[in-house]
C-alpha cells in the first residue's frame, strides 16, 4: 500500500482541530519554511517537485509561481480556488471538510513563497459547512500565531480570508473567480493580461487549486526531490481521485500517479470493481468536461499498453482515443447506463452554467442541449449526430474561457465513441425510452490498431 501524503491522518479523531493536527506533525512545514528558507527556496523546492496543478489543466505549479510579476510597491495575492463544481469531482470539499488545517498550512507556506500579505480562499457558495470549518480553523491558527502579524517571529505578516462565492461553475475559471472576488459579475476576463501580471485588483495574482496548495505541505516537509520520486514521468506525486458512478466503493482516494487504471478500478483497496456484478461500459476519467471513453479504450491505450492514472497516459491518443486526468472526477458507467442521457445531462449542466458573455458558448450549449434532449426522448433524426459534432466544433476554441471547450468535448467524444448508441436512439426510438442500449462491443478487447483519420 502506497504512502499517503495528504490523507495520512484523515481518520484520526479530531484532526480538524489545531491541537490534534499539531500533534500529528502539522504546521511543521510553516516552521521549516519561515525559519530556515527564503521565499525563492520554497519556489525552487516546488519546481523541483514537479507538482502540476490539480485543478484540471495540469500546469506546473512551480512554473506558474515563477511567472508571477514582482513590481516594487505593488501588493501580490494568492487566491485559492475552492470553487469546486465540476460534476464528478468532490475531492476539495472532502479535504476542506475533514482536514482544513492542511489547506491553511499550505496557504501560509505558498503565500510566503509568493510574498503575498493577503490571501483569499474562494469557496463555492453551496459549501457553507466547509466555509464555517475553514473560518474556525483560521481563527485557531491565528490564536496559535500562525497567521497575523510577525508569524513565528519571522517578520512575515499574512492575513487569510475565506470568501464564499455565489455557487456558479464559471467562477471556478480563474479570471471569473477574480472578478467575483472583486465583487463584480463573474464573467471571465479576456486574456492577456494573465493574472500573474494583472489579477486581483490589477495586482499580480496566483490562483491555485485547493489540492495543489495542500500538496505544498509534504513537498516542503520532505523536499521536492523526495516528492518527485513518487509517480511516473512528468506526473509526480499523489493525486486525490473522487471515484463515483457504478463502483462498489465510491469515495475520495489518494493514489500515486502512475497507478494502472485497472488496479484503481478493480482492486479492493480502491474502487473495488463495478457494483452489482455488472460490467464496465464507459469511464469519464477526470470530471465531466474531459472526453468520455468506452471501457476497452480506457483500460488499454490504442497501442494495447495498459493505461495508467497519470497526466500523460490518460492523454495518450490525444482527443481521438485518449482523455485527460482533469480534476480527478472519476465516473464509471456500467452496462445499464445510457450514454445519450448522460451526455444530455452534462450538456444541460453547461447550458445552465454558461455565463452568457461570448456568443458561441451562450447559444451553442443551449442548442446542443435541445438536440440531445430530443435524441434522448426518441424524436431525433440521424443527421442530429453530425449537427452536434459540427456545433461542438464551432464552439471549441472560439470562446473566451475554457468553458466552451469543456462543453464541447463530452459531446464530441460521446458521439465519436458511442455513435451506434446514438443511432439506435433514432432508429429504435420507442424502445430507447423504455430500455437501455446495453454494452454492445464497448468492453471487447481492442483487436488491432485502427487507422485514425
Amino acid at each position: 500500500m502506497a504512502r499517503k501524503l495528504l490523507l495520512e491522518h484523515i481518520n484520526v479523531p479530531g484532526i480538524n482541530t489545531l491541537d490534534v493536527y499539531r500533534s500529528k506533525g502539522g504546521y511543521a512545514s510553516v516552521e521549516k519554511a519561515l525559519k530556515t528558507m527564503s521565499p525563492e527556496d520554497v519556489v525552487e523546492e516546488v519546481k523541483k517537485s514537479g507538482l502540476r496543478g490539480r485543478g484540471g489543466a495540469g500546469f506546473p505549479t512551480g512554473m506558474k509561481w515563477s511567472f508571477l510579476a514582482k513590481p516594487e510597491g505593488v501588493a501580490r495575492y494568492l487566491v485559492c480556488n475552492a470553487d469546486e463544481s465540476e460534476p464528478g469531482t468532490f475531492k476539495d470539499r472532502y479535504l476542506m471538510n475533514y482536514i482544513p488545517h492542511l489547506l491553511i498550512e499550505g496557504m501560509i507556506v505558498s503565500s510566503f513563497a509568493l510574498g503575498a500579505k493577503v490571501s483569499y480562499i474562494y469557496v463555492r457558495g453551496e459549501m457553507m459547512p466547509q466555509i464555517r470549518i475553514l473560518e474556525k480553523a483560521i481563527a485557531e491558527a491565528k490564536n496559535a500565531g500562525f497567521l497575523g502579524k510577525n508569524i513565528l517571529g519571522s517578520g512575515y505578516d499574512l492575513e487569510l480570508y475565506v470568501q464564499p462565492g455565489g455557487g456558479a461553475y464559471i467562477c471556478g475559471e480563474e479570471t471569473a473567480l477574480l472578478e467575483s472576488l472583486e465583487g463584480k459579475r463573474g464573467n471571465p476576463r479576456i486574456k492577456p493580461p494573465f493574472p500573474a501580471i494583472a489579477g486581483l485588483y490589477g495586482c499580480p495574482t496566483v490562483v491555485n487549486n485547493v489540492e495543489s496548495i495542500a500538496a505544498v505541505v509534504p513537498i516542503i516537509n520532505e523536499g521536492g526531490e523526495e516528492y518527485s520520486k513518487i509517480g511516473v514521468g512528468r506526473s509526480t506525486g499523489t493525486k486525490l481521485i473522487s471515484a463515483g458512478g457504478n463502483v462498489k466503493k465510491p469515495g475520495v482516494y489518494e493514489i500515486d500517479l502512475g497507478l494502472p487504471v485497472e488496479e484503481f478500478l478493480y482492486s479492493d483497496e480502491f474502487c473495488g470493481g463495478i457494483a452489482n456484478g455488472k460490467r464496465l461500459k464507459a469511464v469519464v476519467a477526470g470530471g465531466s468536461s474531459v472526453p468520455i471513453l468506452p471501457a476497452n479504450l480506457f483500460l488499454k491505450t490504442i497501442n494495447n499498453e495498459p493505461r495508467l492514472m497519470s497526466y500523460e497516459s490518460l492523454a495518450d491518443g490525444g482527443f481521438v482515443t485518449g482523455t485527460m486526468l482533469g480534476s480527478g472526477g472519476f465516473i464509471a458507467f456500467d452496462e445499464d447506463q445510457c450514454i445519450v442521457r448522460n451526455t444530455w445531462n452534462f450538456t444541460r449542466f453547461y447550458h445552465h452554467e454558461s455565463c452568457g458573455q461570448c456568443s458561441p458558448c451562450r447559444e451553442g450549449t443551449g442548442w446542443m442541449e435541445k438536440v440531445l434532449h430530443r435524441l434522448e426522448n426518441g424524436h431525433g433524426s440521424l443527421s442530429d449526430m453530425d449537427l452536434l459534432v459540427d456545433v461542438s466544433k464551432k464552439i471549441e476554441g472560439n470562446t473566451i474561457c475554457p468553458l466552451g471547450d469543456a462543453a464541447a468535448w463530452p459531446v464530441a467524444s460521446a458521439i465519436r465513441h458511442f455513435r451506434d448508441e446514438f443511432e439506435w436512439h433514432v432508429t429504435n426510438a420507442s424502445e430507447a425510452v423504455t430500455r437501455n442500449f446495453g454494452l454492445a462491443h464497448y468492453a471487447d478487447p481492442l483487436t488491432k490498431k485502427e487507422a485514425v483519420a
Binding site: A168, H351, C355, C358, N398, I400
Partner: protein, 331 residues
Amino acid sequence: MSVKVKIDGIEVEVEPGTSILNAARQIGGDIVPPAMCYYSKLKDSGGKCRTCLVKVSKGSEKDPRPMPKLVASCRTAVMDGMEVQNITSPEVLEARKGIVEMLLINHPLDCPICDQAGECDLQNLAFDHGAVKTRYEFDRRTFEKIDIGDKIQLHMTRCILCYRCVFVADQITDHRIHGILNRGDHSEISTYIQHAVDNDFSGNVIDVCPVGALTDKTFRFKNRVWFTKPVQAHRDCDKCCGKVTLWYKGEEVLRVTARKDQYGEVEEFICNTCRFDKKKTSDWVIEGPSKVSHKSVISSNHYEFKPLPVVKTNPLLREANEEQFERDTRL
C-alpha cells in the same frame, strides 16, 4: 516608434498597442473583420461576440510561432512582424459562419417589423458572412418588452448581448443603473425593477445597439429608415457637441441620431435634448445631406449615384486593378 503588421498580405505600420482590428481598419476594404460588440469609443468593449476572430499565422518577429487558437482581433494587440490572416484563411471564414449562425439562433428575425432594419449591424453581418439557412429547429427565447424611461424601449428578445449599452451606461453617464441579469442564454439587459433611465446621455444606448433591441420610442413604427433622408445638422448645445444627423421624411424630422462613421460607430455622443426634443428644422443649422454608402439600403432612392467603384480605397488593390483594366482594354 511603430510596428509593422501584415494582414492578409497587406503591410501596414501602426502604433504599438493597436489592436489587430484597428490596424485592419487603417488598411480598409474587405479585410476589416466585422465587429458586433467592439466599439472604439467605449473602453473595455469587445471580445464577446467573437465575429472578429482572425488567425495569427506568425506571432511576431521575435517569436514567430503561430497562435494556437483563433484570436479576437478587437482585443489582441499587434506585435512587430505579426502576420494575420482574415479572409485568406478558410478556418476563419468557417468559424465566423458558425458564429453568425449562433448569434441568429436566438434572434427573432422579425426584420419586417423591426425599426432597426436597414441599418442593422446584424443584418449586414448575416448577409455578408452567414449561411443561407439556419439549422436551428427549436423555440427562440422571448422576453416582454420593457420601457426604460419614456423615450427608450428595450426589446430583449432581439438582444445579442454585446454589452455595448452597459459600457455606455458605465462610462458616459454618471451612475449606472442598468446591467446584465442572470446568465447564459437567459441573461438579460435590465434595470432590474424597470427603473427609468433618465440622465442626459442615456439616449446613446439606442445608437450603440447593433440590433433593434433598444429603440427610440419617438421614432418607433413611424417609418422605414430607407424612406428617410439623412441630413447633417448642428446646433449650439450646452450639454453636448450638437452635431447630429436629422432623418427627414418630406418636410418633417422623424428622428435625430448622432453621426455615424463607416463602421456604424457614432462620432460623438449627443444628449437627450438634441435627440428627443429638437425635432423642428428651425432648431437646427443644416449642413447638407449625409454621405451614405452605396451598399446601404438607405441610399436606394436618393442622392448622387456613383457607379460601383471597382477598386477599394486600398492603393495596392487599386494598382492591381488598374493593371487588370489596362490589360482587359488592350485586348
